[in-house]
Symmetry: C2
Subunit: 376 residues, 2 copies
Amino acid sequence: MDNIEKDQLWMREALRLASHGRYTARPNPCVGAVLVKNDQIVARAWHQGRGEAHAEVQALEAAGENSRDATCYITLEPCAHHGYTPPCCEALVEAGVRRVVVSMRDPNPKVDGQGLAYLQEKGIEVSVGVLEEEARELNKAFIKRMTVHQPWLSFKLAMTLDGKISDYAGNSQWISDESARKEVQILRASHAAVISTATTVIADNSRLNVRELPPDFPEACKDKFKQPLRVLLDRKLDIDFQHPFFEAEGDILIYTQAPMEMQKRKHMQIVPMPMDENRYFSISAILEDLSQREINSVLVEAGGRFAAEMLQSALVDEWIIYMSSKVLGEKAKSAFAIDKALELSASLALKFQSVSMCGPDIKIIASKIGDNHGLC
Amino acid sequence: MDNIEKDQLWMREALRLASHGRYTARPNPCVGAVLVKNDQIVARAWHQGRGEAHAEVQALEAAGENSRDATCYITLEPCAHHGYTPPCCEALVEAGVRRVVVSMRDPNPKVDGQGLAYLQEKGIEVSVGVLEEEARELNKAFIKRMTVHQPWLSFKLAMTLDGKISDYAGNSQWISDESARKEVQILRASHAAVISTATTVIADNSRLNVRELPPDFPEACKDKFKQPLRVLLDRKLDIDFQHPFFEAEGDILIYTQAPMEMQKRKHMQIVPMPMDENRYFSISAILEDLSQREINSVLVEAGGRFAAEMLQSALVDEWIIYMSSKVLGEKAKSAFAIDKALELSASLALKFQSVSMCGPDIKIIASKIGDNHGLC
């Protein structure tokens, strides 16, 4: 095994560790670290979430004296600033680490190369870019918030083979099978927020929270599970506050145009949001507001009108479609409620990234046209 | 390698050879044969089509004196009756073959075990059932015609993500990408007949024939390519005989209710067919008529009304769906034109067997609910 292969091997282990943080690290990125000395791993660590020790600092502590002259593999550039914890770069220097291998630079403008520069100044050998693509995929939501100032936007759809999300009477329970519904619980748990419209929440009697901990949720931080923020778009504040949505666990944020006669409730915020010229919410404005609130990723679960708008806006990063083999016919409600007569040459489109079976259903991952997540 | 593994190894080779006949063997089954002596293959052969030598006879001829005491692996029971060629069983006995290994019994009532019985009477060791599942899959169309007296029925659909087959104006060229359209050429070439309605042929200006030889069409029988029989359902004989459909290569069969004032044309037959109580064609009656005409397999390429009927009739063995990532909205034409308001609990459904990417599109193979082709 040559040195490049060794670097990849240990960085892959660091990435595997980093991914343990996918349910709890937010709003921080997922980070993993591996300390290697004489071709042996002497410490492993991953970041559990804000306020907890950073991965590299945990690894240094675990390794103790073994840190001296070791190589530290970290999936993200170590920080050089005082945030919730002291800067990791100083800890690496103090521990006498000889070499630091990093998957990608930290897109956080507070770091963005300063950590690497600091280490180099202190005479530490620094390598950057090992398995960078995998690292970027793992933290795509954090990267998007840091660089675009909007959260990563996923849209989940459960539809029939003929593109319907409910029957003529609005009944949608259940279009997709149990396997898909279990996956939706995992999707909710891995997004910082779940967003829907009052119309959909009322029609489907949804609560949008996580009722079942993901089977791969790390034992080590079972007490750190956080419900996603549940975001409701409700122009006229139509929803009845007695709705089960308000009883369920998890914080609530309501965007509304209605006058601000606010009911005070714990775990709930009502935020005024102006409408655009078509009397719709500006989704961009909402995404920017959510980004300000340090929301890295948002999962949309909404109806056909909203899906149609989002398809046209091209704001969605990832469409996650569970397609059942049912057929409901033309009277049923469309997954994309577009009533404009589109010519084939002017049709809307996504870009399929991958497809697989999910129980008896099909799972499609799609992106915007032109995007290539490197997921395929 | 034990004897069971050896049998499977050589039968797998016989099946591979048999599959070369998938474009030309019809109405005969695909058959491959391998002669093995002292653990060495001494001859290989496959059946090219009616009137050509059967696989086992070709193999015996190729092996000559080496046939004596050899083992013959055949994917289908050898025939014991005089058909277009003399019975293969006699040839096997005369050549002094010691053992015959067969994948499956011939479902043809003219054979159906008689071949095996004959060989055993003559003192030849006979084994049946080696890789039988694969053999049945290869000849599923022939088996269905022999046992059910209807051809295997495949339904090909090219639709958008939202279940549309054309835009509001009826334009469907092209919903799916080039890769899918190339596959449709292969589908047509591998079915004995392609069936459509006059409405669809007129709307899409279709010819339903094969314009491009499949890339895996065997060199050895390039001259034996046969266009599929092109079957048109045309209740009132609405189609104009000047339509390009009639100029294209390949025989034509028209089912109609119209009075029999027949235009005589080469390569064309017009067959009267009574309507059912809803003034539709009885698809079962048509399938039985096609079976009488020794059509093993039929590919349906038709519109949303026909797809809806076929979905409800549960007559289709295999749905082959090319789904593009386009979205056409609610004004476009549905792949399943069902105008009845179905409740979710009464929805129609298929059973997904497999899914894969096909260029930028998705390819779904589905069967009737309850079917399991063992394709997955």
